[in-house]
Point group: C2
């Protein structure tokens, strides 16, 4: 039965239609010679949404938008009293991003949605395509703003009040975007959802390295962020003996040495990154008086996240003192997200029935799926991206993987939409 279902929907996926939509959407905000700039609520974001509304209108689908700018596309025959299955992702990009991060997931969902309806499969529940607003968070913070507001983890008013560097608010930019879309239905924020499935590029090198075309995401790893401020004392590099120095750089170097020992992991599961590191006054012949650095620490296991993360403060204090004053602020503590096993099983089954190899994996990056998982069963699938590169104009995904991922999503959707959910 399931093999038939999968096949029924998946074979409806039209690779050339998908590729032509990809090219049309990728042209909006395109950078030259490559890459994409389509930041949230920008003119390019509005234009991209307008193009998708045109596709919807051509197919008779019903578009709606909620108060933070998330958009939904439904089949006109859908029963609005039944909680839908959502499939989707985002179409905003980093300021110098690529046309796969987010866009792939939206277009795969769109194609799967079309294939599902074209298959004539009787559905227990309606399916809608979701486009989450401002996933990137590069222009307006925080990231995954639309899904966070949808899941009621971020107050709407706070999100609307966020400003970009030019001082424009989300509220004002969203109003302009919405006006550009013409007539569009209002949608309630955080309406009930039966399930959510998102396809995305991996944004890491694992699938490519292993030669696996589809990753079935079982969890999104947890994340703890720390900011460490080290206050020492400036001094003359030529005249100050080591015994008299309160060198903030040396203190920070010692802290990071011990943190790297703590985080060392032969299994290569721990993700530990010092991404920001600033020295003052930053002059060659002056002993640094202060240093600020950040710690980005991620792990799929909440216990490890707690055990290692809870040692950060003490290690920094011990390694910094007594020469320097150390201030440690934990700026983010986001637990791991366990995705739905049954939905993950449907993705694996779909791939299996299409003869495509999969591997279970943890998502290193956060996604809108993290917030959806707080309100409904949620699953994700990944396709490889070249050299693991994303958030870069060099981002690329193989068209073959794009199509395979879309087929697997469509097949899984057939399984999910026709079951008892």
């Amino acid at each position: 039965m399931s093999a038939d279902l999968t096949d029924l929907v998946a074979r409806g996926v039209n690779g050339s239609r998908l590729a032509s939509r990809h090219n049309a959407l990728a042209a909006i905000g395109a950078l030259h010679p490559q890459g994409l700039c389509r930041e949230a609520f920008s003119a390019a974001d509005a234009e991209a949404r307008g193009l998708i509304c045109d596709w919807a209108a051509a197919s008779g689908y019903v578009a709606s938008i909620d108060a933070i700018g998330n958009m939904f596309f439904a089949h006109p025959g859908a029963d609005p009293t039944i909680a839908p299955i959502l499939i989707g992702s985002h179409i905003d990009s980093q300021p110098a991003g690529g046309p796969f991060d987010g866009q792939f997931g939206v277009l795969a969902a769109w194609e799967a949605f079309e294939a599902l309806h074209e298959s004539g499969l009787p559905l227990r529940r309606p399916v809608e395509v979701a486009i989450w607003a401002n996933e990137e968070g590069s222009r307006f913070q925080p990231t995954t703003m639309g899904s966070a507001v949808f899941a009621r983890r971020l107050p709407l008013q706070r999100a609307l009040a966020a400003t970009d560097t030019a001082g424009r608010t989300v509220a004002a930019e969203l109003q302009r975007l919405r006006a550009s879309l013409g007539e569009i239905r209002d949608r309630a924020l955080g309406f009930p959802v039966a399930a959510y499935v998102e396809a995305h590029i991996e944004q890491g090198p694992i699938l490519e390295r292993r030669g696996i075309p589809i990753g079935v995401v079982t969890s999104i790893q947890g994340l703890r962020w720390f900011t460490v401020e080290v206050a020492g004392r400036t001094g003359h590099a030529g005249t100050t003996p080591e015994a008299d120095r309160r060198d903030a750089f040396v203190a920070a170097h010692n802290m990071i040495r011990r943190l790297r020992d703590l985080m060392a992991d032969p299994e290569d599961v721990v993700r530990f990154t010092i991404g920001r590191f600033e020295v003052h006054p930053n002059a060659p012949n002056t002993i640094p008086g202060s240093v600020l650095f950040t710690i980005d620490f991620r792990h799929p296991d909440a216990a490890v996240l707690k055990r290692l993360g809870d040692q950060v403060e003490q290690i920094c204090r011990e390694a910094g003192g007594p020469q320097c004053q150390v201030t440690i602020t934990e700026t983010l503590d986001s637990p791991p997200t366990i995705l739905d096993e049954e939905l993950a099983g449907a993705i694996a089954r779909s791939a299996d029935e299409l003869g495509i190899r999969t591997e279970p994996m943890t998502s290193g990056a956060t996604h809108d799926a993290k917030y959806l998982a707080m309100v409904c069963p949620t699953a994700m699938l990944f396709i490889p991206c070249r050299d693991g590169i994303s958030h870069s104009v060099l981002e690329h995904a193989d068209p073959e993987h794009v199509e395979l991922g879309t087929r697997v999503l469509a097949g899984a959707l057939g399984l999910i939409a026709s079951d008892g959910r």
Copy 2:
């Protein structure tokens, strides 16, 4: 004989005259509530030089200025055909400096000069007070510009063409400064000098810590500067396994770990400072794609400077590779300067005869004396400064030390000026 000479000149030092000149000069460019901003060739520098010219005029001394703005003050009876003994320092300051770095040496020289002539001691050679232009180099690079040009180690035209951040040249600013001084004699660049003696605050904590009021400088330590550029690859902090990272921060951290091991010195003579350290793109969740850092390495012993400094490049290459590309540039290689033993002996003898404890020491900072030592026998004496702090508005020297240092300088000058030099 020498005890008499020392006493004859040193007892002529007038502490209250010295203090009142200090206060008058420190008021020019004073910052509030403390500190000094009197950058080279600024209006404050011109005003300070003008005040000193007024003092000279009142005493009948003859002022002259050379093509880079170094000024000299001679007794009217001095024989211009005999190479003079110079005593002096500088009166320009860091943008947020203090009223002792340089100023102490000029005022000590001025007072010693007055005491010498007031003593009536018959002189074998004329003595002149020198004020070297742009010692600090904060506004116009390089540092010790005036003495470097005087010693013919920096071409005059290159120095005159140096610009500040507003695009003004040394040539234009010097012309304006000179015009503000009215009538003043031209002096040849790099005229023959019989000897040079400079008093200065230590700018380090050693004398204060040991309770010694006078340091006799035996050498100015050598200095090697390196700039290390590390090129890795940016990546997503959440998705990129350690095995796939080319993390420029980690590579730089490893290099500095090995460099710190190399430079470790139980004797605390090596001076090793990472003062500038910059990360790109410097975002918390992005693996650093590149790092630039500087190494300031100093030592009084040329052999140690060579042995340790020559290992820097190989250590950086080894610790950085193969993940990252490393470019090492040696931007400065300045050998140690050995000062004149006989002149240093005169300073020690002067202090000894005045009952003041001295200690031989190496200068951690560079001074105009470094360039003078290339053209004539040269000596320096240091007095303590509070907490070793200089190049800071917190810079302070005890008035008692200022007066003691001036007496020792005057006594030494009596010895030197009356001998066969």
